[in-house]
Amino acid sequence: MTTTLASESVTQPPAPEPPSLELASYGDRVFRWILTLGAVSIPVLLGFLVYELWVGARLAIAKFGLEFVTTSTWDPVAEQFGAFPLIFGTLVSSVVALVIAVPLSLGVAIYLTEFAPKSVRQPVAFLISLLAAIPSVVYGLWGIFVLIPILRTGAFPFLRDAFGFLPLFQGPIYGPSMLSAGIILAIMVMPYIMSVSREVLLAVPDTQREAALALGATRWEAVITAVLPYARSGVIGAVILGLGRALGETMAVTMLIGNRHEIAASLFAPGYTMAAAIANEFSEAVGDMHLSALAYVAFLLFVVTVLVNAAARLLIWRVARGSGVGSKAL
């Protein structure tokens, strides 16, 4: 997909140019070739990356095949590897993050574009964008020292008391857990979702709002009936952006997730993600099969990311059918 997009944008000149101009302007041609080179380099780089991962993972692919995706053993000593808990952990922590971050950031975006007094809008938007500039290791440290103690003594026991009938909120509370990782991820992806949603909402024409208001809608009803539907494809795009970030986040997650190769129904239980496993084990992996298994994990992470993004684009196309703000950008 990327390839076609890139090459289209490069090889389609806006209009046929008069030959004389082409000949006359040497600089233009150089400029064009430089840009072409730049654009082509992206798919080439991507292809090279995938190829390298594939080559690195060949040993593990030959030994474990597709069972790698469905088995759960991760034993570097016996050289038995299975990535199912990693894939599970990656997806679950990202979903938890989105469940928390989407309503929150969408709420903030709606407030900032529709309700907030002018003097508040810019400062708040700026502050939220600043969250995106914090390095993830700082989020991780903050998570260990501040967030986890609060969660373990306050939020988690409360959740267990209130919703303990759900398997999601049962079992012992350690602190580091799928839920802790999901919460830190939510905080980390929020600025992305919020900023993009806000831009999208700002781009909704005022006529939409005016029409709804003229029909007797309240401000709130105008947002729900006229603004959000118009902006939905862009908002979904914002969510996808956040999801992509959540899937690949490494440092903060590994510091908070508990790093256990296991699948548990409870969000209080520790888990593991693909990116975290690679970061933890790669630098000290000396066995060929161990290295290869980690490359295989990286390859799968790539596959998962591509699949999730493809699914998201399909969703956008179906929902938006090419209309509305932001759909063209996606």
Binding site: W74, I144, N259, R260, S283, E284, A285
Partner: protein, 357 residues
């Protein structure tokens, strides 16, 4: 720490190495004009190492060595996985590691590698039981292995109680915390457990990353420490230096002579003293669970890896000079100041003899 993790070292050149290639053209007479400012042949030594464990002592040594001799040593850190690969491929000239190379890795180098012990490290068992106060807990190897296997899950287990007479152990769940990242600390610790527990050896084994039967993974010494500190009833393992500088409580561990030994610089050095090194040893000896009444059983050498037949003899001589300097009492004292256990004198003499030959 890193027992395995320490890392790799390259002597000079290679990083500056391209520079090295140019240098003859630039004129041999000014060959000491390298960016490093090194006064000997313009060669700097580049050491690549990884973890927090040996980090401090090598930094200190390089600094002191530069002041003493004018030879500056540059260093970087990478994991031992990549380090061993680079050492094998010859892109670095020497390395530093917490874990010895395997026979297969050595034969890939045609046997042209020597492990030179530099200092000793140890791993301690830390825990969070506020009710104990300052009394250190006592473990033996088998019990420790069963705790980390998840077979002993309560602090008031009868086996723990038997090891700790007079200590009132609470009826709390034991929360096991281990390193999630590959590390030399894990290597030493699992090496010890595999020696004292057949079950551990067959079910888990020893490596920088293993399949932990139970518990939570914390990233780095600090990750394990935070997790232990924050969880009532937690147990974990960290390197000795880290435990000392962070004032963590740590347990006394029973050695093969039946003594419960407190981890300290002395008891760690004692473990190396107890190691039986033959004159033709390759120094790749594990000193976990060493004999000797005073020996702390979860100790290990760390090594510099050098090539006895260096590709570049000038560089080889420089490395040798540094190692000789490092083995002097003065340099070993610097290690002790930073809470690294210095090598016992017989080991130093053995290394010196080996270097001379």
């Amino acid at each position: 720490m890193s027992i395995r993790s320490l890392g790799w070292t390259a002597v000079g050149a290679l990083a500056l190495g391209c520079g090295g290639g140019d240098r003859p053209a630039a004129g041999a007479g000014t060959s000491d004009s390298g960016a490093s400012g090194g006064s000997i042949g313009g060669q700097a030594t580049l050491i690549l190492f990884f973890d927090t464990f040996t980090n401090e002592i090598y930094t200190k040594w390089f600094d002191a060595y530069a002041k003493a001799t004018g030879v500056r040593i540059n260093y970087q850190s990478i994991g031992s996985g990549g380090g061993i690969r680079q050492f094998t491929e010859g892109t670095v000239d020497f390395g530093a590691t917490d874990g010895p190379m395997s026979d297969a890795q050595i034969s890939a180098l045609g046997g042209n590698v020597l492990h030179v012990p530099t200092v000793l490290g140890a791993v301690v068992v830390t825990y969070n039981l506020p009710e104990l106060g300052a009394t250190p807990l006592r473990f033996d190897g088998a019990t420790l292995a069963d705790v980390f296997l998840g077979r002993i899950s309560k602090w008031n287990d009868s086996r723990l109680a038997a090891l700790n007479p007079g200590v009132k152990l609470p009826a709390k769940d034991i929360i096991v915390v281990h390193r999630s990242d590959g590390s030399g600390t894990s290597f030493i610790f699992t090496d010890f457990l595999a020696k004292v527990s057949p079950t551990w050896k067959s079910k888990v084994g020893s490596a920088t990353s293993v399949k932990w039967p139970t518990g939570l993974g914390g990233k780095g010494n600090e990750g394990v420490t935070q997790q232990v500190k924050q969880s009532d009833g937690a147990i974990g393992y960290v390197e000795l230096i880290y435990a000392i500088s962070n004032k963590l409580p740590y347990a006394n561990v029973k050695n093969p002579e039946g003594q419960f030994v407190q981890p300290s610089l002395r008891s760690v050095t004692a473990a190396a003293t107890a190691a039986e090194l033959t004159p033709d040893t390759d120094f790749r000896v594990s000193v976990t669970n060493a004999r000797g009444a005073e020996a702390y059983p979860i100790s290990s050498f760390t090594w510099l890896l050098i090539q006895p037949q260096p590709r570049d003899s000038a560089k080889g001589a420089q490395i040798e000079a540094f190692i000789k300097w490092m083995l002097q009492p003065e340099a070993q004292r610097m290690a002790a100041d930073l809470h690294y256990a210095p090598l016992p004198v017989p080991v130093i003499e053995l290394v010196q003899k080996r270097l001379a030959s």
